[in-house]
Symmetry: C2
Subunit: 206 residues, 2 copies
């Protein structure tokens, strides 16, 4: 019985790894439980013992991506200065995106499975976003008034947009093909983080 | 002879339209001159009279996208205030991305054909980027010193990252699935443009 359980867990994990391989080599639109079974050399029905549908295996892959992404953000160096801390979070975000382009694309560049059907995935996605919201809430002059939640979310959207956009541009060939100098590309991350800090510190906020 | 020339132009244009349809329905990786010919019901060789290769037809499609994109940016309302002008450019950028998602993805989300081989495409891409550089150069306190080119490019990267990232996030389902309120989503564009303005106006620049 113990052996059968272990084997069952092995198959579950093998399905996930094979699904990742399909997404990586053929694209997420080619993912199906049938293809997972075919590549593992098991019966068509075998993956269904562990996953109700193709969306369920995708949701688990996306959930794991959000989990490791959030852990990576959370393990950033802590400085005690809330502006520097946001900068460290930005660097951690960019280093995750560069090291795990497939997971990054699944989280932020692909339509996600229906959140109603996959609450665990959504809980992990929201947890990652909440790390950014929490870091913003540490900034000075944030008063817990009735607008503060909306204000934090707008700042989170601004910061996320800037870092997400920079990540896409640096990973594309656009920056290189636009004849930007090596110096500009090397300075792009620290300068963009500095600009975000300027925007958040601006006296226009008060 | 005039008729033959007109027909030849028609086939050239038909190839481009069919290539766009292939990219839209099947993805850019499925584009080939053979598939264009098959769908048009012409001989396999016919498209080669007009395009050396699949990359040449793609480069023309991308070049046209950059051309209409730059025209759209250039037709923004002019206010005379360089900060408001950058904001109008941001709005024009976002409205193009929303109205032409396919062209937008081809310009900024797909590996471009080799720029050495397609100078017309690259000239049009650089022209679009130069509109942003020109608008930044109009900001006050920009001194034509030795660092100004690098500084303008870094500001261009910051602004482009922020707007490109916001465009991706608003077009994805991420913002909705994160339970952001309608008010936050409605305010996202003006607030992000305001943050960009704050960063550019910051006294830390001086």
């Amino acid at each position: 019985m113990a052996v059968r359980k272990a084997r069952s867990r092995d198959l579950r994990e093998a399905c996930i790894q094979e699904a990742l391989a399909i997404i990586e080599t053929a694209g997420v639109e080619r993912l199906s439980l049938r293809e997972v079974a075919r590549r593992l050399g098991v019966s068509h029905q075998a993956p269904y013992k562990h996953f109700e549908s193709r969306d369920h295996i995708l949701a688990e892959i996306v959930a794991r991506a959000f989990e490791t992404f959030a852990r990576h953000l959370d393990e950033r160096p802590r400085t005690g200065d809330p502006y520097l801390d946001l900068g460290e979070m930005g660097r951690a975000y960019l280093s995750y995106a560069q090291a795990h382009p497939l997971q990054y694309r699944l989280m932020f560049g692909t339509p996600l499975p229906d959140p109603e059907q996959h609450p665990d995935m959504m809980q992990k996605a929201r947890h990652a976003f909440s790390l950014l919201q929490d870091a913003i809430a540490q900034l000075p002059d944030r008063r817990p008034d009735q607008d503060s939640a909306g204000r934090t979310d707008l700042d989170a959207l601004f910061i996320w947009s800037t870092i997400h956009g920079l990540s896409s541009i640096l990973q594309s060939d656009a920056a290189e093909k636009l004849d930007l100098s090596r110096e500009v590309l090397d300075a792009a991350i620290p300068e963009t983080l500095r600009r975000i800090g300027m925007a958040l510190r601006s006296t226009e906020n008060q």
